[in-house]
Symmetry: C2
Subunit: 543 residues, 2 copies
Amino acid sequence: MRRFVADKAKYLINRTRTTCSSPSTSTSLLHRLTSSPSPSSSSKSAGVLRFLSTDSMASDYSSTPVTLNNVNPKVLKCEYAVRGEIVNVAQKLQQDLKENPGSHPFDEILYCNIGNPQSLAQQPITFFREVLALCDHPLILDKSETQGLFSADSIERAFQILDQIPGRATGAYSHSQGIKGLRDTIASGIEARDGFPADPNDIFLTDGASPAVHMMMQLLIGSENDGILCPIPQYPLYSASIALHGGSLVPYYLDEETGWGLEVSELENQLKDAKSKGINVRALVVINPGNPTGQVLAEANQREIVEFCKKEGLVLLADEVYQENVYVPEKQFHSFKKVARSMGLGEKDLSLVSFQSVSKGFYGECGKRGGYMEVTGFSPEIREQIYKVASVNLCSNISGQILASLVMSPPKVGDESYESFAAEKEGILSSLTRRAKTLEDAFNSLEGVTCNKAEGAMYLFPRINLPDKAIKAAEEAKTAPDAFYAKRLLNATGIVVVPGSGFGQRPGTWHFRCTILPQEDKIPAIVSRLTEFHKQFMDEFRG
Amino acid sequence: MRRFVADKAKYLINRTRTTCSSPSTSTSLLHRLTSSPSPSSSSKSAGVLRFLSTDSMASDYSSTPVTLNNVNPKVLKCEYAVRGEIVNVAQKLQQDLKENPGSHPFDEILYCNIGNPQSLAQQPITFFREVLALCDHPLILDKSETQGLFSADSIERAFQILDQIPGRATGAYSHSQGIKGLRDTIASGIEARDGFPADPNDIFLTDGASPAVHMMMQLLIGSENDGILCPIPQYPLYSASIALHGGSLVPYYLDEETGWGLEVSELENQLKDAKSKGINVRALVVINPGNPTGQVLAEANQREIVEFCKKEGLVLLADEVYQENVYVPEKQFHSFKKVARSMGLGEKDLSLVSFQSVSKGFYGECGKRGGYMEVTGFSPEIREQIYKVASVNLCSNISGQILASLVMSPPKVGDESYESFAAEKEGILSSLTRRAKTLEDAFNSLEGVTCNKAEGAMYLFPRINLPDKAIKAAEEAKTAPDAFYAKRLLNATGIVVVPGSGFGQRPGTWHFRCTILPQEDKIPAIVSRLTEFHKQFMDEFRG
C-alpha cells in the first residue's frame, strides 16, 4: 500500500510536469465530443486534474507515435455524417441548455438526425423484452412470482429458446453463424414472408446489420480497383465501409423527379463508365425501402435490378432493414430473394445477400445490436471464407440473436400476448405514417423546398433550393451550403438534421435528412419552429 | 396467394434444374461446418431439398461472380485455428454420436479448445444476470413480485444504471464510446484496481475485446509495410486481424525454458530485424496473463517493456482480458497503465491501449459480447479518428455495456448479494486453480511432454516431443505434426485441443493448447483418457 501511495505521488508530480495542456487547445474539442451530459460526468480524474499546475501549457502529444501522417490513410478518408460534426454541436448545445437554461432560443434539442426510435421515447415491444429478461436470468423461470410478472407465452418462448441453446448457456459463445435453433426460426420467418424456402445454414447472425455489411465489403474489396455500385443518396455506412476497406464507390443516382426512382439505364451507364476507368465492379448495393430517400421499390423494378446483376455478374447487396416500415397502401415490401425466386432464379443463378436488423421496423431495438444476413448464391469455398471471417469475432451477442429470432417470429393469433403485441405494433406504425405525412406536407409548404413522400423507412429527404446569397455565405464560412443551412437551423431551433452532403446528392442540389421519429406530441412544435426558421432564413438570403 | 403458389412451383422446378449438387462435393463439408447438432436441424428447406431429383449433379457455382481467384486475398490469408478444422471434425463426431450412439470409443466430445466457460456448464454470476434481466424489462422494477425474485441490490443497481441512460432507453443506440455513466463506473473500477486516475473519456465500450483489437489494427496498419510485434505463441485473433488489415506480423518468441519469459533483448533483435527488412513497426502486442501460454508477467519485466515501447516509439497494445485469472500466490496482475504511471510516465509519454472483456475472468460471459478498451497517450486528432471508426458501427450492445460496468464494480461488503457473489467467485476461481494444477501435473507425467504452469488465463500449452516416426506420418498425411497428434487424440478420446501451429511456436517444436475449463468432475476422465491415448500413441510411433 505504501508503494502505491509513493507511486501515486510520483505520478501526480510527473503528470503536472508533462500532461497538462491548455484547455483551449483541440483537447477541449475532443472532450466535448466524447462527453455526454450525464450528471455523473465529473469523475475522480477530473478532480485530480484540478490539482495540476499550468506551468506546462506548451506540452503536447508531439512525442507520441501515432500522427495524422502515419495513421492508416483509409481511416482518414472514411466519413460518417450521421454522427458527424453537427451532432457534436448539438451535444454541446444540450450541455449549454442544461448548465444555462434559457441561453438559447429553444428549450430542448430535437434529434431528427438518426434512426434511433427509443432515444425519442418510443417504448419497446413488451413481449420481446419479457423473453429477453427471462433468457438473461433463467433461474426465475420456475418461480411462482414469475407467472404474475410475465405473460404465459413469453415464459413458454423463453423455455423454447433455452432448449435450442446447447446447455441452455446464454453466456456461452455460440456457433459463429449464431445459434442453430434461432437460425431455424429465422429461416421459417423468411419462408413465411416470401413463400419460398430459406435455409438456416444461409443465415449469419450479426451485431446489427453494420458488421454484416463490413464483412461483405471485406470479402469483395481487395484493392482500390474493386468497385461497389451504391445509390446516391446513400446511407453513409456504405461509403464509410468502402473507404475503410480501400475500395471504390461507384455512384448511381436515384431520380428525385420520379420519387427517387432507380433506373437500370443509369446503372448501365455508371457501370460502363467505371469499367472504362479500370474499376472492377463487384457488387450493387440497393437500399429498399430507401435510406435516406424513403422510396419503396416496385416489384417490376426489382426484377430489372435482379436481371442486371445476373447479366453483369454482380453480387446484389440488398439492405432490407426497413422491410416492416412501409406507410403507403399502394406499396408493399418484396424481398429481393422472393423476387429472384419468383423469376425462376435459383441458388446458383444470383449471388444475393439480404441484410436485416432488429434496430429498425416498428420495434426499433437499436441498442440490442441484433441482425442477420441471408447469404445465397455463393460457392462452398467462398461460404467457408465468410464463415472464417465471422469466426474471428467468435459470434454476435446472444441477446441480439434471440431478438432477431423474435422479430422474425412474433406472437401469433391465439397467443396470450398477441393482442397487446398487435396493438403496440399498430400504434407505432400508424403513428409513423401520420408523422411522415405531416412532416412531408410541412416541408412542401416551405418556399423553395420540395419533398418526396416517405413511402417507407424512417426519413424524409427534402430538397432546398438555396438562394445564391446563402450559397455564397456558406462558401465564406467554408462549409457546404446544406451544412450551413442545417447549422443555422440547429442554432435557431434545436432541431438536428443531417446535411444532404453526408449522403451524396446530384451536384448543385441541396438536401437534408430528417427522421420521422420524434413523438407525435413534438411534431407540431417541430413544424412551427422549422417554418418560422425557414421564412427568416429565406428573408435573410433571398436575392 | 395463387401467385405465390405458382411462383413456388416454378421455383422448385428451377431449383431442381439448377441447384442440386452432389452431396459428396465440398458443399456437404460446408453443411457439416455450419450445422449444429440441435434437434430442430431438419428445417422445412431440408424437406424441400428431398424433393429434388439428382439429374443435375454436374451443376455448380461456376457462373457465380465471387471465386477464390477474385475474393480479397487478405481474407484468404487470414487463419483462425481456435474455430478451425479440428473443431469442424469434433462437431461432426458429436453429430455421429447423437445419431449412432456407441459409434466411437467415447460417449461425449470434451471441448478443451476454446475459452468458453459457460458452454462447459459454468453457471453465470447471479447478481450480474439479475441486473441484466431487470434492465431488459424495466417495467417489472416497480412490481411487488419483483422483490421476491430479485435481490435488493440488483434492483437498486438496475435503477442506478437506468438513470444513467438518457431516457432510460436500453433499446437506443448509445454514445459511440458507450453510455457515459457506465464509462464513469468503469473508470472508477480501474482507479480502484490501479491506484491511479482513469478518465471515462478514455474508455471505448466494444462488443467483446475482438472488435477493439480490430479497431486498433485498422488504425495502425496502412499497408504491408506496417508491422505489429506479436508474441509467439500468440492468440490467433492477432495474426488474423493483422492479415485482414494487410499488415505484417513481426514475431517475438516467448522463452519456454523460463516459463514463457518475455525477454527485451528478443524484442530488440526482432525489431532490428524487421526494420532491416523495411518494416515500419507500429506497435507491440503483449498478452498478460498469457494466451495460450498462461504466464503472468512480473512487474519488473513490465517496466522493461514499457521502457522499450517508449524508447522505440511503439504503441503498447495490452491484452489484459485475463486480469482476474491468476492462480498462483506468488504472482499478481498489474495493469500496464499502473506500471507506466508508477514509473512516472504520464498521458503523453506512452501510447497505451488496454483491452478488457466480460468473456473471461471468473464470470466468463462470452455470449454477452461486452468489453472495453482504455485508450491513453493518443493526440486529440488521433482520438477523433478512433471515435469516428467506432461511430460507423454506432455503438456496442447495451447489455454488454452494462455487464462491463458490473464486472468492474461488483457487489461490495454489506450489499445483500455480496456473500453469494463472493462465494460464486471464490468457487469458480479456486476450482480453476485446482483444475490447472491437475492438468499440468497430468501433462508433465506423460512421456516426452513438458508443460509450464498455468499461472493465469485459462490454458495450458504443453510441449510434445514427437517421435520422428510420428512426424513422418504427419508429413505423409499432409498435416502439421501437432495437428496430426491432436486429430488422433480427438478421434481416440473425444478431447478437442488446438494444435500449437495455430498459435505459432519455435520451428521444430510442437505443442497444443488445452483449456482448464471442463467441470471438475470431468477432469479425472480427461486425465485418464489422455494418459491412455498418449501411451498408445507413443507405443505406435516410438523409434
